[in-house]
Symmetry: C2
Subunit: 631 residues, 2 copies
Amino acid sequence: FFLFATKPKITKNPQITVELLRHLRQAMKNSKYITEPIQAYIVPSGDAHQSEYIAPCDCRHEFICGFNGSAGTAIVTEQHAALWTDGRYFLQASQQMDNNWTLMKMGLKETPSQEEWLISVLPENSKVGVDPWIIAADQWKNMSKALSNAGHSLVAVQDNLIDAIWEDRPPRPSTKLIDLGLKYNGLTWQDKVTALRGKMAERKVSWFVVTALDEIAWLFNLRGSDIEYNPVFFAYAIIGISNIKLFVDSKRLLHPAVQEHLELDSPSKPELTIQCFPYESVYTELQAVCAALAPKEKMWICDKASCALTRVIPKAHRSAIPYTPLCLAKAVKNPTEIQGMKMAHIKDAVALCELFAWLEKEIPKGTVTEISVADKAEELRSQQKDFVGLSFPTISSVGPNGAIIHYRPLPETNRTLSLNEVYLIDSGAQYLDGTTDVTRTVHFGTPSDYEKECFTYVLKGHIAVSAAVFPNGTKGHLLDSFARASLWDSGLDYLHGTGHGVGCFLNVHEGPCGISYKTFADEPLEAGMIVSDEPGYYEDGSFGIRLENVVLVIPAKTKYNYRNRGSLTFEPLTLVPIQLKMINTDLLTQKERDWVNDYHRKCREAVGAELERQGRKVALDWLIRETLPIV
Amino acid sequence: FFLFATKPKITKNPQITVELLRHLRQAMKNSKYITEPIQAYIVPSGDAHQSEYIAPCDCRHEFICGFNGSAGTAIVTEQHAALWTDGRYFLQASQQMDNNWTLMKMGLKETPSQEEWLISVLPENSKVGVDPWIIAADQWKNMSKALSNAGHSLVAVQDNLIDAIWEDRPPRPSTKLIDLGLKYNGLTWQDKVTALRGKMAERKVSWFVVTALDEIAWLFNLRGSDIEYNPVFFAYAIIGISNIKLFVDSKRLLHPAVQEHLELDSPSKPELTIQCFPYESVYTELQAVCAALAPKEKMWICDKASCALTRVIPKAHRSAIPYTPLCLAKAVKNPTEIQGMKMAHIKDAVALCELFAWLEKEIPKGTVTEISVADKAEELRSQQKDFVGLSFPTISSVGPNGAIIHYRPLPETNRTLSLNEVYLIDSGAQYLDGTTDVTRTVHFGTPSDYEKECFTYVLKGHIAVSAAVFPNGTKGHLLDSFARASLWDSGLDYLHGTGHGVGCFLNVHEGPCGISYKTFADEPLEAGMIVSDEPGYYEDGSFGIRLENVVLVIPAKTKYNYRNRGSLTFEPLTLVPIQLKMINTDLLTQKERDWVNDYHRKCREAVGAELERQGRKVALDWLIRETLPIV
């Protein structure tokens, strides 16, 4: 699963949109919120933590324009209302928005950037407002510069104007916090704080403002369920060389297990004493910390943190970094986490073997739909030990729906699985011991030669990445073309990246590594990192193919060892058979055939043993049949 | 040839260095040059045009520290003198500099950046001086920011302090300008100016300050010989929608052919009238243009242009661009230029076939050295039609010298060619019709299995790039890993990029395209662009291998055509046999064997015909023998 989620579509109602826009435009002139009227208001997607998935109370662009894809920026002026989104969402946005809104298709040459558009429609000397908590510091900087070059100005509007007109806005979630224990974490939060302080001391930094929710969850070995699919909780943290300040709804800390876990009553060491503050007080507390800084003291904050919080730190003290040390530390999984991820993937494979065996039996009846498979997959996963929930909404797509890369089945698009069409399922789950994300593309009848040909190119790309050997220090983006070479040879391609970092019982998408031609600023791959490998091919209007494993970066043995740098390669954690029926084996090299057979042998051994243990005979038979060697 | 040139070594003389540093430090306090004393002075490499190769009058870091590699920044404080250079030059710099200078090895973890070092050694509130004509605007910005964050300031010193103490500094060259004529250029300068203005109008830009010497040479269809190896001349240009201002030593325009070419007396159209100004008056003339700008008028300047010139343009009018439209237009060769490049490469191959045939005969005599081969190669090239000179200093290296990537033979390092060692020659020439750059690695006796193995991996990488098929719009850096995959598989690698843009009777290195993991900001490859493909492998202390062709980007025919994007591939322009003796054919796939045979067939056809025409029988026999098919 490379892309973002969508939620069920809102029924269009232009009357409602007109009303909402009228209210918003009134707020843009209302001295209750702003000192001087603003001529435009920007509604970025995301929350105050720049989360990819957001809680209902933060779905502001959905509220105002109806479009609920994860990436979209709405801008409302006195005359216009426009939404910018990227290629994944052109169709969805055009379906969800009414004609009070203009869709701005990002990435097309004729589409103006937000800045260009604003400059073209605004009267001279305009003020453009934005909530400084929702816009990241680096985005603010770019937008502000472009506007001021054109004689306008970007102003921070402290009250969010969408919230101001959103009558039934849901409250911010405050779910129960759980302490996983060392058995799952491998490291205590105290050790993590100490290691972090080591990094801070190394770079002579005395404070670090933690704003990303998964970094806070990882650091304190706590999980929540404030945001669907992501086991995180709303919080901030400010870590000093001898202070730990945690900002979280205080009710959540009342539970004795959490109190004990965080040693709130009896800290083992003074420098490991956690001071707790209400979530909302991070701003004033950060002001207080900054006021007491010595002249040369430095404070780290991610350059993707909110503009509001970033600007509290005086420039002379601020060190804005693209990836935080926690982001990096979290990406390199420790042995306990690796073991947990392996177990989670075996359990996940058990559920999928069951699913595919069940599908083979049920599809001929003509009653299986995209939605019912997604439900069945969730049901089967939920039978596995330590299951918590899905890690993202299941992409279950038949035939032409498979070509919509970010598709999620909805009642009005739901298709029935048949013996005649390609079926693509991209799904994953959160278990206490790990996070999974797997895509398989299968055919239950006889695939066409063309479908097989395309599938085989995708498989060749998948193998090229999975079996790649590369020097220590290589960045993942340098492997992206390996996944495409065989498609390119035939004039084919896919328009998404090849892989993303995967958290361990955390977000299914995490930085700072990935495999994508789109990024250059990714950090080098290291042994212990976990990423996805998911090339695809999408034929608009007929089918979609994607083949995704989660893979672990491991040391590689090589014949030579240039400059003692050492080499790396990948070990698949996902262990679900690749449908042999879809492969044109003539197109594979001997090395590729060996890879497939070796992979299937591993699936049979690891997953077969677990299926046997769980007494799942039908799925075991299916697994054995699906993992026969190819020649 | 991927890297930069070196010149013969200066004999170290610490007494001279001490004197020079004393003079420079005096100048740093001399109110004749500066209003307040400066505590450090930065000497960047390069000239006022940020040229890669520089004229003797601009070799300032060489004058002050003795090191003459092309890339190096010297910084002198009251107490210290240090030079930063990269991995290519560590050895050379340590040999050329005496102990009055500290070598700062860039790219090593322990090496401080120039900013870090300055901050660590300077007293509080220091002033750091630099010549604003030599430092690029983007470099100034970074340096200035880092210094001011630490309480220091970067100040522009208008008089260059090195020039001030350089008694016998050579004058700026002012060589004869030549007009190549349409037969070589394919487009008149008038058409080029008109096309440029089209791009300016498209982006609503009314002025463009041209500072790169190759852009000026290309735009006006003129060549000079102010800088060795690069057929350019010192000039600036300011192009307006209805103005053309050329800044060049006025003596150079007296020649009737140049007058006629530029239509100085009788312009065909008013907007194609060239106003000529002395080279030095660009600053004041740009000030005048800027003073007359209408409020919203925009002016383009490359962000690599000098700080001095960039800052003349008020920020509100300045549009700093990473690649200028001329850089892009120049990179896409027109049919005349492509035809010229093909011819130049055939002539160049004739010279190299002669050379290799001669070497086979001469080496057993034991009198052939690295330097004598370089001289012989130049002699043979100079016999070809329209030869102008070399395009860079020949890298001629035997055995361990081949592992020094930027090696250039000097009398004290000169080795004799033998039947026992690998020989690497990277060389090229300027012809009126094109520029060449080719590397071959050969053995005149029996190469070891290991040498053959490494050579074959490099060959596989070369073929992987050369035969790659990729979609229109792909950036060259995405192809870099293809060149490394087979080396990586065995734990090997090389530490330079894989390819650079090549000019047409212009600089052998040009932007905005290339094939390198180091860049992300390269422009997409387009049909008509010309780049090098030159993977290598270097075994310190024993041998170096590199295999380089210049290749033309051409449309590729593919089975399918995803989204009608079209595909591209490469056609080798270089047509010099690859030594079969060095290949372990067992390591090649059938496709790779076919590529080698197909390539050699082309060499035989195109170069064979020319050898025959020139009556070079011995070389023809050699060519035929060296292009026998492999199985």
